[in-house]
Symmetry: C2
Amino acid sequence: MNIVIIGTGNAATVLAKKFVAAGHHIIQVFGRDLHAASKLAYEFDTESTNYWSVIRKDADVYIIAVSDDAITEVARHLQLPGRVVAHTAGSVSKDVLKAISSHYGVFYPLQSLRKEMSTLPEIPVFIDASDEKAKDVLNRLAVSISPEKIMLANDQDRRKLHIAAVVVSNFVNHLFALAEDYCKKEGLDFQQLLPLIEETVMRLKTVSPKHAQTGPAIRNDQPTIDQHLQLLQSHPQLKKIYELMTNSIQSSAGSSNN
Amino acid sequence: MNIVIIGTGNAATVLAKKFVAAGHHIIQVFGRDLHAASKLAYEFDTESTNYWSVIRKDADVYIIAVSDDAITEVARHLQLPGRVVAHTAGSVSKDVLKAISSHYGVFYPLQSLRKEMSTLPEIPVFIDASDEKAKDVLNRLAVSISPEKIMLANDQDRRKLHIAAVVVSNFVNHLFALAEDYCKKEGLDFQQLLPLIEETVMRLKTVSPKHAQTGPAIRNDQPTIDQHLQLLQSHPQLKKIYELMTNSIQSSAGSSNN
């Protein structure tokens, strides 16, 4: 397929790489920041622009990969009757694209994408579409870059997936950041925790996390919990998280025993 | 080395497997539960007992891998003058073993160990010892099963490592469990989040989690946060965690900007 990429950030860059790796052609990159747009276009041996008026009209699909609040602005400038156009946001309704074309939808990558990635990650894609034509094109594009079955997710489903993603990625990363900070302050080597972290994640493939819960909280090991809270006196932010997570683990265990 | 394993649980089982894989000999397994002890002994083609009086006196090292509160009980029953003995607990002082022998210490595996593991995980080992003899034996044992440099960690360091381990493993697993529960209730497939989770962890090898933080909280994207909290009305436990983690992420960002 011939694809126009609108945006030059993390999602735009990684998706464009995935598309090219799957044999598609990026025929143009649009970016408000022309420098970023031409840099990305150079990578794909294609053209770039920061003028709405010169956006090509002959692509099979237009992927709007910009920040949530910029999508509406993009929609105000684009008129692509007959073309298929999609944004990539979890928490934005597909209907913000209504005025651009009658064939619109969403191409939502459930993955954390960063320009700097040296290897392209596996990306489960969820699509939504206004009509059969958009659905067909977005589905074929998704199938070409994602090894798994492509799933449909309407605005509401996508918002819920986004919540789950925030929990397992943003919140988990914050726990890593707090632990790293704690290790640094206490003269411990955070890197020594990596095998444990990898094991915790590996286990998800075979055991439900509900049944893999271990540690002082689930054991109701109050002496250890007290000792830990004592040692966390000088780390108030982590202490607060420790208390809340311990309570939450214990209340989950309590409710599943009932 | 010739090793006596005291205990039949997760740590006892996995450490024994690691020892055998490294060429050591398990010459006896002690377990209060004789059935469990003989089952484990059978696996290593060795003998088992549940009598303190028949514990062999000729091993190079005795590994006490029992629950934290059972260690003191074990120590009351064991007399092994001249022998090297160690427990495996993060939060228990090495000195509870003082009465057993003058060569005592700790052999602390910083890993989540489960009997059911089909492949043995990488295990960073931290040791502590009462004297040079115990240090030498425990160090050689640790080097034989752990690819990395062996680190010394006294009682206080080990407690702190345990806290960090609780954060990155038990708390992280609890976030996975909450997300899985949420997905189940909302008709979403938790397994679709695995590539995202793997990417979040993979990234730790190259980027500090502090610099890898993404999501609505760090972006101060209040409309998305409000939308998420609205959708979490019917999930009060997850909503509470969402609020606390969001505040914590924002307060970390605030303090590092100062």
